[in-house]
Symmetry: D2
Subunit: 231 residues, 4 copies
C-alpha cells in the first residue's frame, strides 16, 4: 500500500479558520486571511472541532493517490459518499501483472500462505486463459479475487476525513482500512497538523466506546463510573 | 438476479406534482394533494422532466431488494452516491453456499463455462479451507472471486433513479448493470408509470449520442444533420 | 407554524430493521420483512442508534408540509443539505396577503410589537407600490422583510432527521427552528415512535455538552466529574 | 458585488486529467501527473466534458469569497447542495452599516429608487431601535429586508461549478445570480481556462433550449429543424 497526498487546498488550516471567522464578523474572508496567524488559526480550529462546528472544515480538500490496496478495501472506502473517487477500471484495463494483498493473519503461516498464493495465481491464470479464448476482460474479471490490488484517486475535505477516520480508525474496522487511514493521517499531518491530529477513532469525541464491546481504549457507557444524566 | 420494489413513498407521482405546485402558488402542498388528479399530476411530471426542473422528483423514494448480483455490479452500483445502501457483509457472513454469476459471453460455450465454474469452485474451496485452518472469514474472503452473488437493499429517489438509469441503460454500460436497471425500471413502472418511462439512456434527453461512438440509437453530434448553433 | 407529515415510507421502523439485518445474514431483506416483529424491530433500531450504525436509517424517508415559518428559518433549514426541499418562490408568486412571524421577545411588549408590525406593513406596502409602478415581483421582493411567512415541502430520511435535530433542538439554536423541530418530532413520533424519540439535542448522544457553555441539561466536559481518558 | 477566488487545488486541470487517466491505465496517478503536458490535459478535459464523463472533475475545488450579494441571492445560491458554504450570520453580527443591493429595474428610475432606498433605511432604523429597546439582534433582524448585503465563502468542485452554471447562467435565472456566476466564471477562467469556458447555460450541452420558451440562444426542441429520433 502506498498513500501519497498529491494535491490539497493551499494553507488548509488558515483557510478554514478565516472562513469560520466570517460567520460572526462584519469583515469578509479576504481580510481574515491577511490578519490571521498560524497560531490563532490553530486555536480557532481546535475550538471549532471541540464544539462540533464542523462546516468550515469543508473548505479544505485533500487529494490522495492510493495505490496497492485490495478491492475488499476499495469497496469499503467508496461507501463514504461525501468524497470523490476515480478508480482503475477492471473493465478497460486488462491486467498483465499480478499484484495482490495478503492479510497478516495468513502472512505468518508458510503453508497457508502458499495455499493462498496458489489459489490467487490459479484464478489469475484462468482469467488470462478466458481472454485468450476471446472473452472480453470485463467478463473474464468475474474470476478475479478480491485480494487483487487496485489504484484509486480520492478527494475528501477535512470534515469528511475526520468523520471517516472516526469510523475507520476504530479497532472494529478491518486491518487493511485501518492501515489505509493511518497512512492518510500521516500524509495529512505533514501539511495540516491539527487536522491530522483529529483523525482518530470516534471514542475520542464521545469520551466513551459506543460499540457493543470496547477494545479497551475507552470504557463503554455502562462501564463509565458516573454516566452523566440530563438534569 | 431478483429485483423487488419493497417500499416506496405512497402516491409517488401525485406527491411530486403537488410539491412542485407550491413553488408558484400561494397554497400549501396539503391543498394541492387534495386537488390534483392523477391525470394532471402525470402531465405536470412530464413538463418538469422535459424542462429539467428535477428537484421536486426527490420527494418520492423507492426501496429495492436486489438479490443475486455479482460483486462486480454491486461495486459499480454503490458509486451512485445520492442513494442509500445496505449490503450483505462478507466480513460477518461466512458463506456456506456458493451462488455466483456467469457472464453471457461465457454461458454459451460449454468448455469455457466448465473452466469458469471450476475456477470459482476451487477458489471457494480454498476460502472454506482457510477458515477451517482458523483464518477469520473477513480475511479468507480475499480469495473470493468477484462473480460471487451478493444481496443489497437500495433506496433512491426518483430524480437519482432517472440520473443513474441515464448512464446505466446506455449500451456502453456492462450487461449486468444494464440488466439490473431494466429490472429497476420494470418494478418502478408498476407504481409510477411516468417515472418508470423516464428511466432510459441519456441520449433521449440530449437528442444525440455524446459518447465517442454511437450504438445506433441516436447519431453522435458530428453525424447530426444540422447541429444547432447559438444565435 | 403548521407542520404536517404528508408522506412517509410505510412501516418505517420495520423497513430499517429488516435492511439492517441483511448485513450480517445470508437471507435477503424480503425474508426479514416477513419474520421481524414490531418489538424486535424496535430493539434492533435502539441498538443501531446506540452503536452509531446509522446508515440503515436512510431507508425510511419522511415528507413534511411546513407552513408559516419565517424566511429567517427557511434559510437555516435548507442548509441541511442531505434533504430535499421545494419552497414557495417569491420570484413567481406575487404575495397578496401579509402573513408574518413575530418573535416571542417582541410579542409580550405592546409598544414594540406595534412598531414591529408597522415596519412590516410599511415594507409590504412599498412592495405592492413598486409592482403597481411596473417593477416585477422578483425585484420588488428585495424590500420584503425576513419575517414574512413561507411554505416549504421537505423530505428527509430518518438518519438525517436525527442529525439535524441533534443541532436544532440544542438550546443554542434559535427559538423558531427549535419550535420547527419540536413539531417535526411530534409528527414523526406518531408513525415512528423510536425515531421520534431519538430526535433530541446532541448532548444526549455525547453524554456531555460540547458547546462553550452548557444550558444545564448536561455539564460541559470540563465540568464532568471524571472525564474518561484513553488507556 | 465582489467575487474573489481565494483558494483552489493547484494545477486544477492537470489534476483532473491525471486522475481521469488512471481509470483506463495500469499506472498510478503520480506517474500521469509527471507525464501529462498542459496541452494534453486540456484535450483530455474537453473529451471528458463532451462525453459527459464528469466525475474526475470533482478532484479540483475552488473557494470563492463572495461579498455584497443580497440575501435573495445567497438564499438561491445555498440551494446547490453539493458545495460548502460559510455565511455571515445575522444572529451573531449586529449590523452597524447599511449595505444593500438595488435591482437594475429600479436603478434607472429616480423616484422609485428614492422610495426603495427610503423603505430600506426605514426598516434598518426600526431594526436598530428594537435592539436599543433590548431585543436581541437575532430577533430584530426579522425586520431586515432581503436586499441587505451578505458575505459568503463558497467551495465548489469543477463538476458542480459546471452543473450550477448550466442553470444559473440561463437567462431564465434572476439577474443577480446570473451576475454572480459571470463573476465566478471570470475568476475560474484565470486559473482553469477550459473549466471557465465550460461555465455556460445548459442549452450548450443539450444543443437546444429545454425551457418552455427560448431566449433565442438555441431553439426549443419543437423548433429544431430535424429533431433526431431513436432508430
Amino acid at each position: 500500500m502506498r498513500v501519497t497526498l498529491i494535491r490539497y487546498t493551499p494553507d488548509p488550516e488558515l483557510t478554514i479558520a478565516a472562513a469560520a471567522r466570517i460567520s460572526a464578523s462584519p469583515s469578509p474572508v479576504t481580510e481574515h486571511l491577511e490578519k490571521l496567524t498560524a497560531q490563532k488559526a490553530d486555536r480557532l480550529l481546535a475550538q471549532l472541532i471541540s464544539a462540533g462546528h464542523m462546516s468550515p472544515l469543508e473548505h479544505a480538500s485533500f487529494t490522495f493517490s492510493i495505490e496497492g490496496i485490495s478491492r475488499v478495501t476499495s469497496h469499503q472506502l467508496v461507501r463514504h459518499r461525501l468524497a470523490s473517487y476515480t478508480q482503475q477500471s477492471q473493465r478497460f484495463v486488462s491486467l498483465k501483472n499480478l499484484g495482490f494483498v495478503t492479510p497478516p493473519s495468513i502472512k505468518g503461516k508458510p503453508q497457508l500462505q502458499a495455499q493462498y498464493q496458489q489459489a490467487i495465481r490459479s484464478a489469475f491464470e484462468q482469467y488470462l486463459k478466458l481472454q485468450e479464448a476471446g472473452i472480453p476482460a470485463e467478463d473474464a474479471r468475474y474470476l478475479l479475487p478480491s485480494a487483487l490490488e487496485t489504484h484509486i484517486v480520492m478527494t475528501m475535505n477535512a470534515r469528511e476525513l475526520i468523520a471517516a477516520a472516526a469510523l475507520r480508525l476504530c479497532l472494529k474496522a478491518q486491518w487493511e482500512i485501518i492501515q489505509l487511514f493511518e497512512n492518510i493521517k500521516a500524509e495529512t499531518r505533514k501539511v495540516a497538523p491539527r487536522i491530522g491530529e483529529e483523525l482518530r477513532p470516534k471514542c475520542y469525541k464521545l469520551g466513551y466506546c459506543d460499540e457493543p464491546q470496547s477494545c479497551g481504549l475507552f470504557p463503554t457507557l455502562k462501564d463509565t463510573p458516573k454516566p452523566p444524566k440530563p438534569h
